[in-house]
């Protein structure tokens, strides 16, 4: 590969080879990387890992249901300006003093290349992704108040995550590199766990994985436990010094893994059947 910068995973983040490839494709082709996947598979953490691996600053734009595309570009603080003008503060004539760049604007105007994470884009309004098409394509936008055009000094590496709460518009999807994070298999999961708990006992680990994947495979579980929940669970087990033999089939602290009452009931029922 000709591109000097390549993401190879990091010491804290274990990525599948497919994910690494997708990330590198997105970086080389200068397209936004759209990441979908079950909650808790590390979509958001990926951006942090890429940022630290490439040693670039990370800007996070958290999307909420009320977020508008404009918020990411800039906000013109009229009210502050009016107040300042009352008291004749210096610099009132300078409109640009009251134009505050949003996350996208900051990413464009940054002196060095940054990683921009647009987190949970599906939370926003239906039209939101369409409103950003031009800016993400051209990497520039215009501020009418100051007559200024903000153009990206260095094309930021854009990472977008989605929980698939809403469908995204086709025109937007066409411009993205898409990757779906699958739930890690046992092997990858073991690697992930070892990264977080390097000193963990192998016997405990194998018991944990056995119990965890059995639980995920149970019929009738509504919210399957995710990677992050597995890590929390292991922490709980380690803190309480649970013996490996107890993990399976007892599954102590199941409340860390299962958050719904119905799911806990399913667990108790099938535990009884097994007993």
């Amino acid at each position: 590969m000709t591109t000097a910068e390549q993401f190879r995973g990091s010491s804290e983040y274990v990525a599948s080879p497919e994910l690494l490839q997708a990330a590198n494709i997105a970086i080389s082709l200068q397209k936004p990387l759209l990441i979908k996947g079950e909650p808790g598979t590390g979509k958001t953490v990926l951006a942090q890992a890429i940022a630290s691996a490439l040693d670039k600053p990370l800007l996070i734009w958290n999307i909420k249901s009320t977020t508008k595309a404009q918020d990411g570009l800039y906000v013109y603080d009229v009210v502050q300006r009016l107040y300042d003008s009352q008291f004749g503060n210096a610099g009132v004539d300078n409109i640009s003093k009251y134009v505050k760049l949003g996350k996208l604007g900051q990413a464009f105007s940054s002196e060095q290349q940054v990683i921009l994470l647009i987190d949970e884009i599906d939370k926003a309004d239906l039209e939101f992704p369409n409103d950003l098409l031009w800016e993400l394509d051209r990497m520039e936008f215009h501020i009418p108040e100051t007559g200024e055009t903000i153009r990206a000094n260095h094309r930021p590496i854009v990472i977008i995550t989605s929980n698939a709460e809403k469908e995204l518009p086709d025109a937007f999807l066409r411009r993205c590199i898409f990757h779906y994070i699958e739930f890690p298999d046992q092997e990858l999961m073991a690697q992930i766990v070892r990264v977080h708990y390097p000193d963990m006992d192998e016997a405990l680990l194998s018991q944990v994985l056995r119990a965890f994947y059995w639980l995920r495979g149970l019929n009738g579980i509504q919210k399957k436990p995710s990677t992050s929940e597995a890590l929390d669970w292991i922490q709980a087990l380690l803190l309480n010094e649970v013996e490996p033999e107890r993990v399976w089939p007892e599954i102590p602290y199941a409340g860390v893994l299962l958050k719904k009452n119905q799911d806990l009931d399913v667990l108790h029922k099938s535990s009884r059947e097994r007993a």
């Binding site: 494709i25 082709l29 003008s85 898409f178």
Partner: protein
């Protein structure tokens, strides 16, 4: 030869556009496929496919096209050579212009423009744009039969990945795009600042006036943001013959509740025809009902009403009741339908399926109701037209 893969993807139902194809070529020129078939598979998939639901379609097409060589992880040298110089010759350009309805010139311009957009330098330059070069495989349509190249499989080969079809579960050919439905409901909009939202928007005119009144001492005034004031009521036929359309109806339900952002949204359910009571749940639980008259008296007339039903029922259900002088028998289903029509000036009827061409017993009621109501089919087109109608009086 490579172009035929493009057509295969398109014919397998993936909406691959020229833009994505150019991106893919760009990726190949930069060597992102890492000279392995699985690398190539990953590159193709991440550029061309945009939803995990389409992974299976892609896998199948990939396995079909590259099936013969895919048992080897290393790419055959001919293919490699081609991938390194993905030049388009005249014939391929012509073919592309046929599918995309763009002239050869336009495509060339697009290529050139693309290259210029890229700020970083590429070793390829613009060499591959319409040079009339020659690809090692001839033009198209040929499968890569008979090429056998040795090589060790490092890890899972692309063919195995594609052949496993592990994304089959996600494939869902019946998925209707609720996004489009939601967009249709978007058109139902009547903005007004006459709402009970908190005042958060700066009212410039009022601020200027107040500030002047205040001898130039700044007085800020805020106003309420404009909000949609449209209120909606849906009467949905549930159970019986409507069971076939359950998915369609739940799609409609979701679209209305998700996208509408209406000021108010009410759902009532009925079975086949309106009766003296309306159900509150689609399960038609008799304990959870309200009198139809109560709805008529208490839901204001400015509500937009959508009746969803197949309008097919026994004539008995629609018409039986004590006869009156003017048409609809008192207490009959039709009389209730007409009461709604009378009270609510904005009312349409959505039916999930077009009326069968032959008249049968079941279509009689459809025809009767068709006389009184604006009926639209519950499809994207019908919904869009229906929403337009809902914005004006009938």
């Amino acid at each position: 030869m490579f172009l035929s893969f493009f057509y295969l993807l398109r014919s397998s139902g993936l909406k691959v556009s020229l833009g994505e194809w150019l991106t893919l070529l760009d990726g190949l020129r930069q060597g992102l496929h890492e000279s392995t078939l699985s690398g190539f598979y990953g590159l193709c998939r991440s550029v061309v496919v945009h939803s995990e639901r389409d992974f299976d379609r892609f896998d199948q097409a990939f396995a079909e096209f590259f099936g013969d060589i895919a048992h080897h992880e290393e790419l055959p040298p001919e293919l490699m050579k081609w991938l390194e110089h993905p030049e388009l010759d005249e014939q391929e350009l012509k073919k592309l212009s046929e599918v995309t309805n763009m002239s050869v010139k336009e495509i060339e311009d697009l290529f050139a423009q693309r290259l210029q957009e890229q700020k970083e330098e590429h070793n390829g330059g613009r060499r591959w744009v319409g040079t009339g070069g020659h690809t090692p495989f001839g033009n198209h349509g040929q499968k890569l039969g008979g090429i056998r190249v040795g090589g060790n499989t490092l890890y899972r080969s692309a063919y195995r990945v594609a052949g496993e079809r592990k994304y089959r579960d996600w494939r869902d050919d019946n998925t209707l795009d609720s996004r489009q439905f939601q967009m249709a409901f978007r058109s139902l909009r009547q903005l007004s600042s006459n709402s009970d939202e908190p005042k958060t928007e700066l009212d410039i005119d009022e601020t200027i006036r107040k500030t002047c009144d205040n001898a130039g001492n700044l007085r800020l005034e805020y106003t309420r943001p404009r909000k949609n004031t449209v209120k909606m009521m849906l009467l949905i036929d549930s159970g019986g013959s409507m069971d076939y359309y359950r998915e369609l109806c739940s799609l409609l339900f979701q679209s209305v509740s998700k996208a509408g952002r209406f000021k108010d949204l009410k759902f009532y359910y009925f079975h086949n025809s309106l009766e003296s009571r309306l159900y509150l749940e689609p399960t038609l639980d008799w304990k959870k009902t309200v009198p139809t008259e109560w709805v008529l008296n208490n839901i204001p007339a400015d509500y937009r009403v959508v009746i969803v039903g197949d309008a097919e029922m026994s004539t008995e259900e629609l018409l039986s009741g004590s006869m009156t002088a003017d048409g609809a028998p008192e207490g009959s289903g039709l009389s209730y339908f007409l009461k709604f029509r009378q009270r609510y000036s904005h009312l349409i009827w959505l039916h999930p399926q077009s009326r069968p061409r032959e008249s049968t017993y079941w279509t009689q009621t459809f025809d009767i109701l068709d006389r009184y109501f604006d009926m639209y089919q519950l499809s994207l087109d019908g919904l869009t037209r229906g929403m337009k109608k809902l914005m004006v009086n009938h």
